[in-house]
Amino acid sequence: MATTTAPPEPAAPADIPPPSLRQRLLSGSTLGPLAALIIACAFFSLRTDRFLTGGNFSLIIQQVMVVGTLAIGQTLIILTAGIDLSNGAIMALSSIVMTRLAVHSGVPPLLALLIGLAVATAFGLANGLLVTRVPLPPFIVTLGMLNIAFALTHIYSQEQTVTGVPSLLTALGNTFTLGDTDITYGSIVTIGLFLLFAYLLGQTAWGRHVYAVGNNPEAARLTGIPTNRVLVGVYATAGLVYGIAALLSVARTGVGDPQAGQTDNLDSITAVVLGGTSLFGGRGTVLGTLIGALIVGVIRNGLQLIGVASIYQTLITGILVILAVTIDQVSRRRSR
């Protein structure tokens, strides 16, 4: 290519500075949720001295651990302009499979764990194949899968909560002490997963492709991105993440609970939306989702600490969700 023919005109900046750390952390969509989280924390700190303690924050993270992890998978799917209604049900099924195999069928705990993860991944894969191969809208596919996984959970569990779970499956519920704060290993796993997916989405070609497929699938296809393979990969990966959420759920409660996760699909969507990810796909971050999950957890915990009934938490969450989606819509319209 002839590079010397162009005279040096003030056409393009000679040197493009990389975005600063501040810009990277606070890319438009994450700033609002982060500020909201800080405001909520400040508010509760002023109202009660029980809020701003290491122990309480460790507790909040434990409380958002399961829904937060489910919301990672949900974020991936929503970034591709899809939606997953089946994640809570897949998690419940996976947790029942793990615990029942280990407790009632005498399967070695590690193998039971792996089978549980495989079941969750298989359900995610099935979602992905139905969305791409048939193809069907994600809403319908995952609505169907919600019912299938829910029914299988109840059939297989015989409606019985599984107790006496081997220690390997509850190990993530154990704690270590940092300073004077007890932290569960599960909290570390959850935070680790968020960082891992922040890296995958932000720093790898796969992440770019996930955004592109959600943002403009036709453009993604024309630029040579294997859009169907990306989609199937996203749904299957989400399934695996739901399996990890199942393990976290077993670790947190110490039992395999067939009733678990019934509102987690909507709760995970709430976290994703509060974190600034657009339901139209192609924009948002997984760290935003972490902030979204924490907003819900902080408000729930904080209101309880100052003695406000839990129903108000539901009320506030509802208002915030509508606000977040409104903001998404308005900013999209203006940027057109």
């Binding site: 290519m1 002839a2 590079t3 023919t5 162009a6 005109e9 003030p10 056409a11 393009a12 900046p13 000679a14 040197d15 493009i16 990389p18 975005p19 810009q23 720093q203 790898t204 070609a205 796969w206 770019r208 492709h209 955004y211 592109a212 943002n215 403009n216 036709e218 453009a219 993604a220 024309l222 630029t223 040579g224 991105i225 192609g282 924009r283 940027s335 057109r336």
Partner: protein
């Protein structure tokens, strides 16, 4: 001007494409020479877009053959054509609006870091991609404040610039542009036409599909006129007037073997504004 004996970059002979009863291509020919801007014009239904789709692999013709650098090729998908160094700028631009400029330039062809970071951790080499993007934009003189802004925050002309720059960056053989000025104002159209010239000056031939005759006459070296599924003429803009070319397009004139315009339908030719030139 292009030497007559130069081997065409792309050549197509006798392309036929039927959709049920409709014949979209009826033995169409095509020829793109090195280093030229070839405009493809034709009325609606003349088979213009079907021709372009056949050349870029978006459709597979029922019969006929396509040669690239003298070699017969069979494109089954747009990706096939792209692998052969043919880049297309689609009318809707095919950009991901929420991603930044550099990401769009490298979409589907991301560069990884060297070493373990790239091979094991699959880490993108964002600085390198930004550098190359900046270089590309500078070469094509597309002025942008920052390459880290999302494409959706750009003006229409700037977005077009991004799409064109992407095509030019990756094309090894040719760039095809589908109506690149259709959605733009006067000033921005002028910038895109400049861009087309600069790409040609870098040695890449450009195929320009356009309805806009002044733009075609401003930038094209040759004009391929498509009518009723065939190529009816190839003319040079400095040898024929705009109204003559329009008359050829509508069938009022034909161009004979000695490159002379022959009136077929006097009434239509007059209506199209073709004045008797005394050549007949």
């Amino acid at each position: 001007m292009t030497p007559a004996h130069a081997q065409p970059v792309m050549e197509a002979r006798g392309l036929v494409k039927r959709y049920g009863q409709v014949t979209a291509l009826d033995g169409a020919d095509f020829e793109l020479l090195p280093g030229e801007v070839l405009a493809v014009i034709g009325d609606n239904g003349a088979g213009k877009s079907t021709l372009i789709k056949a050349l870029t692999g978006a459709i597979v013709p029922d019969s006929g053959e396509i040669k690239l650098d003298g070699q017969v090729v069979h494109f089954r998908t747009p990706i096939d054509a792209r692998r052969h160094g043919i880049e297309t700028v689609y009318q809707d631009l095919a950009v991901a609006p929420a991603l930044d400029i550099a990401s769009n330039l490298f979409l589907g062809r991301e560069q990884r870091r060297s070493g373990v970071l790239g091979t094991v951790f699959r880490m993108l080499d964002k600085p390198a991609m930004r550098r190359r993007a900046a270089q590309q934009m500078a070469e094509l003189k597309i002025g942008l404040r920052s390459l880290t802004q999302a494409v959706e925050n750009l003006s229409g002309g700037q977005r077009q610039g991004v799409a064109v720059a992407r095509a030019a960056a990756w094309a090894e053989h040719m760039v095809i542009m589908d109506e690149p000025t259709a959605a733009l104002g006067v000033k921005e159209s002028g910038q895109v036409l400049d861009l087309i010239r600069r790409i040609r000056d870098r040695g890449l031939p450009v195929v320009l599909i356009s309805h806009n005759m002044p733009h075609v006459f401003e930038v094209a070296d040759r004009i391929h006129v498509q009518r009723l599924g065939r190529r009816v003429a190839v003319v040079k803009p400095d040898e024929h007037s705009m109204s003559e070319v329009v008359a050829v397009m509508t069938g009022a004139l034909t161009i004979d073997a000695s490159d002379q315009a022959v009136v077929v339908d006097q009434e239509a030719a007059t209506a199209a504004g073709v004045r008797p030139t005394g050549k007949e």
